[in-house]
């Protein structure tokens, strides 16, 4: 059973860079753990800390003005490696929603499998969100999963999510429960496909 997701109201952290790959989200040298926990400490490690392990003031996660459970990022977020550690790191750090104008496929699946909601918005709405939170970091964003709506101030936009995945998130189910129920049918299939 995963954490259930219905509505979220939170301030957000803006990271207006495009093509953020999973090597930036969690560099390979931190993938050596054999559990799912603790990856948040190394989230965006090489952007967050300098070679002497001191926080880089210029990076948004080290900027005290910004905080919250929502990360807003440039297009093609999560491209590259299939490492699920990227989703674990974002979740472990405290993020529950990522907003971008485009997500890489494998990352999107990995996020949804870990109660981390990727929300794809239009380029124009993404720009509006960036502008609003940058001009007032206390601006909150509302995510209404039931009605598939993301709102900031007086603006809002509908977002798409597969009906099945939505049910999973709202109820805290995961895919494996669904597949385990299919095992008798899978067994037959397996025998026929030697």
């Amino acid at each position: 059973m995963k954490e259930k997701f219905t509505t979220l109201i939170s301030t957000a952290v803006p990271l207006s860079i495009e093509n953020i790959d999973t090597d930036q989200i969690i560099p390979a040298r931190f993938l050596k753990a054999t559990t799912r926990e603790g990856f948040g400490n190394n989230l965006f490690r090489d952007w967050r800390y300098d070679a002497a392990e001191n926080p880089k003031a210029s990076f948004v996660l080290n900027d005290n003005r910004y905080s919250g459970k929502i990360l807003v990022a440039g297009k093609n977020f999560g491209c590259g490696s299939s490492r699920e550690h990227a989703a674990w790191a974002l979740y472990d750090y405290g993020f529950r929603v990522i907003i971008s104008s485009f997500f890489a496929d494998i990352f999107k699946n990995n996020a949804l499998n870990n109660a981390l909601l990727p929300i794809q918005v239009s380029d124009a709405f993404l720009l509006e969100i960036f502008n609003k939170i940058e001009s007032d970091p206390n601006t909150s964003i509302t995510i209404d999963l039931e009605n598939q709506k993301v709102s900031i101030g007086h603006s809002s936009e509908h977002f798409d999510i597969n009906a099945y995945k939505k049910t999973c998130l709202i109820n805290g189910y995961d895919d494996i429960d669904y597949l385990l129920d299919l095992r008798p049918e899978i067994k037959k299939f397996d025998l026929l496909h030697k």
Binding site: S16, I17, E18, N19, D21, D23, Q24, P27, A28, R29, L31, K32, A33, T34, T35, R36, D46, A51, G74, K75, N76, C79, G80, S81, S82, R83, E84, H85, A87, F102, A104, D105, I106, N109, N110, N113, N114, D123, N162, A163, Y164, D174, D175, I176, Y178, L179, L180, L182, R183, E185, I186, F189, D190, H193
Partner: protein, 470 residues
């Protein structure tokens, strides 16, 4: 009459165990590969649920990401890496999975050993917790990378829940110019389509240029499908495929094999089948390629200038583009030819097969590397390493000042001991030039094995065709 289908659709539809309205398809997986990095949490999941592996015969394991490429007979020095490899060993033993561990004659990079052992076959569905699983598509199958939760699904049920992607055909016709390899073809395509241009699609590569390629070259192309966002890419199997497979360890043998070939010959896209997108390129337009930025879409012909911001299509790209060039220490508008390099890495699941090593050996035979350059040649598998030594390539490399190491992912991903130091330039035959990919602050130029070999000799980014003239 049945609907005309693409090869992708035929294989996909033949593997759907359950299709339910509003749900992703439950897709049966014929072959599952695992390695030490993305599997431990999946095995833990099985333990928590108190279940075993659904069909152990369909999963094979190897250790590749974390392994050292020198002194592999000694214990791994780094404690966390050693622990991860030991955890894989324990999990495989506890759950009854075949493991090609360090020291085993079949050990190697997971995407190199699958095809080499004949585990990878046409018409299959293949997954692995690694995005470069797309490599296997070269044999005419559906192969794609998955996350660890999905690895757990496959171990527990031999299925994954997946939405059927859209289909794209990339057709390339004509003959390739001098010095142009499969790596140049795929870097060219990615430069044209961008690092996200194929997201949501599954690609079929076709056309006379593709048909003329060896299996090794086809694997290089399919391998990098993910670098433009595609889940995978496949190529219809043909005589080249069957000839490569005949006699491989786990391929069907003798008459069984010939019977299988008859089935595999039917694995083609039907006439009149519709793709969601078709893109065509002319092989004559492809030249030796190189990347200058921090995603694989930032590639140019090696003789071209690096673009400047004025040439970008969207204003939104400015910040990311400038950040990229700043990271690389390069100037927009300047030439990349002649740029001094410090390291050469010939290896990875993209370019570490016998064909790659032979090409490099041919190019460097009787030559010597530039003094300031360090050159690592990392074979993709133990079998490749053995074969290279048998053919005497190790002697050629040694005479040129190159080091032939032992198999592993090595400097492709900065996870093991092989890292490029901060600020240094590496011309690499691997697949990703992301910031820090080859080690913190390392700078990567992606190129073909020939271009990498040429740079090793001259010590700078070089048009390989200039060396071929001499």
């Amino acid at each position: 009459m049945t609907k005309a289908k693409t090869l992708f659709e035929k294989i996909w539809d033949a593997h759907v165990v359950k299709r339910q309205e509003g749900h992703p398809d439950a897709l049966f997986i014929d072959r599952h590969f695992i390695h030490e990095v993305t599997s431990p949490q999946a095995f833990d999941g099985l333990r928590k649920r108190g279940i075993g592996v659904f069909n152990t015969a369909r999963t094979s394991a190897t250790a590749d990401h974390n392994v050292p490429t020198k002194d592999q007979h000694l214990p791994i020095k780094e404690a966390l890496s050693r622990h991860q490899v030991e955890t894989l060993r324990k999990n495989c033993e506890a759950f009854g999975i075949e493991l090609y561990d360090l020291g085993h004659p079949f050990q190697g990079i997971v995407h190199i050993i699958g095809p080499e052992l004949g585990l990878t076959q046409p018409g299959m569905t293949i997954v692995c917790g690694d995005s470069h699983t797309s490599t296997h598509g070269a044999f005419g199958n559906i192969a794609f990378g998955i996350g660890t939760s999905e690895v757990e699904q496959v171990l527990a049920t031999q299925c994954v829940l997946q939405h059927k992607p859209k289909t794209m055909k990339i057709e390339i016709n004509g003959s390739l110019g001098k010095g142009v390899l499969a790596k140049d073809i795929i870097l060219y395509i990615i430069a044209k389509l961008s690092a996200s241009g194929a997201t949501g699609y599954f690609i079929e590569y076709a056309g006379s240029t593709i048909e003329s390629l060896s299996m090794e070259a086809r694997m290089t192309i399919c391998n990098m499908s993910i670098e433009m966002g595609a889940r995978g890419g496949l190529i219809a199997p043909d005589e080249t495929t069957f000839n490569y497979m005949r006699g491989r360890k786990f391929a069907p043998q003798g008459e069984d094999f010939e019977r299988k070939v008859e089935d595999w010959r039917k694995l083609k896209t039907d006439d009149g089948a519709a793709y969601d997108l078709i893109v065509k390129f002319d092989a004559a337009d492809i030249a030796p390629m190189i990347t200058y930025g921090t995603n694989p879409g930032m590639g140019i012909k090696i003789t071209d200038r690096i673009p400047n911001t004025r040439e970008l299509k969207e204003i939104g790209e400015y910040a990311s583009f400038n950040k990229s060039l700043e990271y690389m220490g390069l100037e927009g508008g300047s030439s990349i030819l002649g740029k001094a390099i410090d390291y050469v890495f010939i290896g990875s699941c993209t370019n570490a097969r016998m064909e790659d090593l032979r090409l490099v050996a041919d190019m460097v035979k009787g030559k010597k590397k530039a003094e300031h350059v360090e050159v690592w040649i990392v074979p993709g598998s133990k079998q490749v390493e053995e074969q290279a030594r048998k053919e005497g390539l190790d002697k050629i490399f040694e005479a040129a000042g190159f080091e032939l190491r032992s198999p592993g992912c090595s400097a492709c991903l900065g996870m093991n001991e092989d890292k490029v130091p901060a600020g240094k330039y590496c011309i690499s035959t691997s697949n990703r030039n992301f910031e820090g990919r080859q080690g913190p602050k390392s700078r990567t130029f992606l190129a073909s094995p020939l271009s990498a070999a040429a740079a090793a000799i001259t010590g700078k980014v070089t048009d390989v065709r200039d060396l071929m003239d001499t």
